[in-house]
Symmetry: D2
Subunit: 323 residues, 4 copies
């Protein structure tokens, strides 16, 4: 019943093999809150030059939850245009329940995407059978591969390893973006996936423990911080492929030090702190024009900005020899 | 900065005084999953004949989380038409973050609604300042009063009593639909509201403890079970107004016995059980045609249906003298 | 297998009928952190003069979690001495798992208590079968009736209504002290209990919604705030027995206003705020000598004390005509 | 204010350097539920022969929550006797609040332990200042180093990295046993600890992701599964010290496969499943006599036992060449 079998072979096969570094692309905004297309183009170029293997548009870091339908379409049109086939582009079709996700799928179809990222249903409480129906219904309607996005901090449901594996074996999903924070569960999923012939591609969303995820069996990462330092994540991925664990750890330790930028705002939580810090860093690096974020969030100001600059310097991204 | 001050005086004043029984209207579906307009009209008539004081369309019980934008518009057009001004109609504009809610507001404006129901932001983690900006931004854009919908089981944030009261004093919200399950917090909110001159209208969403909520100071209820037995909730409300607590308790105990229908499905959770049971009861009562529910849920079948019939009989709604 | 059947008939029958107001007795401390026996005696007298129906020693409000075994014995010896049979005394035998609770039972036996209060196991994760074994093992070893203490905020397990009812029918427990905060669940438990012939006595632990609990079917309350104003809770109970709901609500509203004392400390959480406020109020009322609390908590100081005095005055307990 | 400065230098310095593999020792029981001293001696010998660096008695895996004070003393006397100084022995002094922990400290002093393991307070809700007072009060009273045991699944509080580091800098604690499941937080703690000159020794309690913890900066592990295969964890530790990451991963993958024993019981949760599986494996390996566990748990039976045997065979511990 998988759609990927009936979709154009080139798209399906290329996306099915999407591994490595696939950052969840930020959405730069102007001071007035509109999409800043010039900054978005520069950001895409920054990622491609950094050596990323794919781009994930309209993820949580892309402020998908804040974007109305018109903005979502604007983002997809712009990003697929800027990327122009250099790497696969996958997109979040994030919404509460099945029919609303199907709506986003239909809207996104015209952009020639290489895959769609789908969470468990949320808002309304949902049991295992319904989660299963949700993914199968969406996959049957999609013109490309489906990635399961395991993000309980947002949807308040954890996708179980046996269920994910079953969906992989049945060709319903092509892979998992794991942002569950459950490293024990991730290793169990990776081991079970290997034992089943690796039907799933496994990407971790946790920026500061990608090295451990590689040991567990991750095929790559979806690091929000990869917007700021894509080259660092690309180097770490190549080192992991080469089993050069000393280098993996060295890059990871540096990237973990860089990740401290998200803890500098003391008056904000969640994406207002995290995305706010990523955008502030990119502004300081000259890649995007503002650190503005979607309503109802407000941009970082004050001491946090200076502290972020200091961290960028200490980790070699600003005014140093490393970058 | 309140919109209600600038909106048509008649609408604002009538809705501002909306108290009593305001059931969250179910959305009957055909076997094919489309809106069953004939059943919807009968259900609206059932509520009006039962003596409800208002109707809340597109709430959680109305399967708003499952409805794409087209369906939401269909529901609002049909319901406002069927109600035809006999009682106020308020509608949920439920979505993840501010801009998406604003989109639903713009879509809903043409239906002449008497108010809008708004939750805290969800999916992305959000702090107190952002929740405040969220409600103020939406109120400023709305052509009618805003109700805060406190439903942490869905949005995973509890609206605090001091914040709700401040929003009420500032004219941002007209009232609260409390589905928080926090009866201690509700009494504190009610007491603080009274002390402040009652800027807020307080409705409880918990079907089986409305009597206690009346003692605490509730102005009415938003009972999902009120779809099944609107007359029972209307009798209880009149008894509470008359301070006839023996009758309040008698009705509440009968309605609590009726509410046991939602616990009969042993293989379902959340709305698949709750809305499923309400729809099954209404089908058995001859008011709607099917007990179908939105994808990815599936309708109740098997033993649960017979048990629901028995409860309808025991509580006087089927084949008895009471109804 | 019930112990109550084989225990001395007088104890079992008197305790089995324990209803009404049963405050969880505070444990007054000296400035040095020892039990203040003079204050404890005065506090017991205050409760008895207020008209309480029983006393619950070594509950959460009695700082049982902080008391080592020697202190627990001191409290029980003193309290049973001061009460001297005027009302039943029940005691918490609170500990992590079965054998540790059995140890406390054996220690407590010599004090001639009228019942024991037992929580679900905690610290180690425990499933339904183990919770069942836990209560049955303890009841089989006890020389008096067992009360189930449903307090998920402390033990992180909710006792289910069907399980409690089964334990009641089997004579394992005599009643429930409900501090679950789940008013919907409490009404379901009360209704099921009535339908089963009322094997259980049901007491609520939520000070500010006792009126609603009476409507639901509570047989009484276990209010921490009853240490401060036992007479108020006794008046409310008599009014509820007389079905004088206007008076019930009037007392409850006043007691809810009094309960605001626990929200005055802005720098403390949990019992440091709650027990701290109760002890501060009792010190201001001249009943106990200090507001000291167990290590690692520290006593209330500063502005909160003045605010508590003001609330005592506003609710008629200090310098007013009401008390 | 640290006690370790005033405690015997040899004990403090040796324990302060405790790194490597420190399994939380199981407590074997007879069929009648008494401590099985013969099995306990064999289990200690099994660990020492496996090459462990220390032994942690009376941890969660040692069923400390189930053990009354007499049993705790029995365990400590026996274990310190069996170990006889070959490796350091540290012990859990786990209880709800400060004074109860101090009681266990006093009881344990006579056994010449090399350190004590202390959790955050539990049962009663506790804030940051109280947690700080708790650890400082206990450390001031202890005759050996204190380890902070970060186990939110049991105590429902997460110890924060900045607080742990401050306690380390102040000499209050010597190290952390991290069972928090928060791998992101663990890496941040490890990085901050290194930057501060490594005042803390960091041990991870998560058996299947020790490899990733080593990359993050762990000094060792406290693996419950290390009771079953101490030699495997010792090999992994030596490989990590030698930076032989291919071998680390190979051992970790095998140990993760072995850990699947805890998922075989489908009718149990928590320690009834986990400790039950460890004990069943050790019985099948001929090291302990029964798989009995403390009341209210019941031992594993049925299919799970056969599945555990199969896993022992597949991972080289039973009937194979590896062991």
């Amino acid at each position: 019943m998988t759609t990927s079998q009936s979709s154009p072979a080139t798209t399906a096969s290329s996306a099915a093999r999407l591994t490595g570094v696939v950052p969840p692309l930020l959405t730069p905004l102007t001071a007035e809150g509109e999409i800043d297309m010039v900054s978005l183009e520069r950001l895409v170029a920054h990622l491609l030059e950094g050596g990323v293997d794919g781009i994930f548009a309209l993820g949580s870091s892309g402020e998908v939850a804040y974007a109305d339908d018109a903005r979502r379409a604007q983002v997809l049109e712009a990003v697929t245009g800027f990327v122009a086939g250099q790497v696969p582009v996958i997109a979040g079709v994030i919404d509460m329940q099945t029919d609303r996700v199907l709506h986003h799928l239909r809207e996104a179809e015209r952009f020639g995407l290489d895959g769609y990222v789908v969470t468990a249903p949320f808002y309304a409480i949902t049991g295992p059978e319904e989660i299963d129906t949700h993914f199968r219904t969406i996959a049957a309607a999609a013109d490309g591969p489906i990635w399961a996005y395991d993000i309980p901090v947002c949807v308040h449901t954890k996708l179980s390893a046996p269920h994910l594996l079953q969906l992989g074996r049945d060709g319903v999903i092509t892979g998992v973006k794991d942002s569950s924070g459950d490293d024990v569960g991730f290793r169990r999923l990776a081991a079970a996936n290997r034992a089943a012939g690796s039907p799933l591609t496994l990407l971790t969303g946790h920026e500061v423990v990608v090295d451990g995820a590689y040991l567990s069996g991750a095929d790559g990462s979806v690091p929000g911080l990869g917007n700021v330092d894509p080259a660092g994540y690309a180097r770490m991925h190549r080192a992991a492929q080469a089993e050069d664990w000393a280098l993996v750890r060295q890059e990871q330790d540096r990237l973990a030090a860089l990740f401290e930028i998200v803890f500098q705002p003391t008056d904000k939580v969640g994406p207002a702190a995290g995305i706010g810090a990523f955008k502030t860093a990119l502004r300081e690096l000259g890649i995007i024009a503002t650190n503005n974020v979607s309503t109802p969030m407000s941009p970082l100001e004050g001491e946090a900005v200076g502290k972020i600059r200091t961290i960028l310097e200490q980790t070699g991204l600003l005014g140093g020899a490393h970058a």
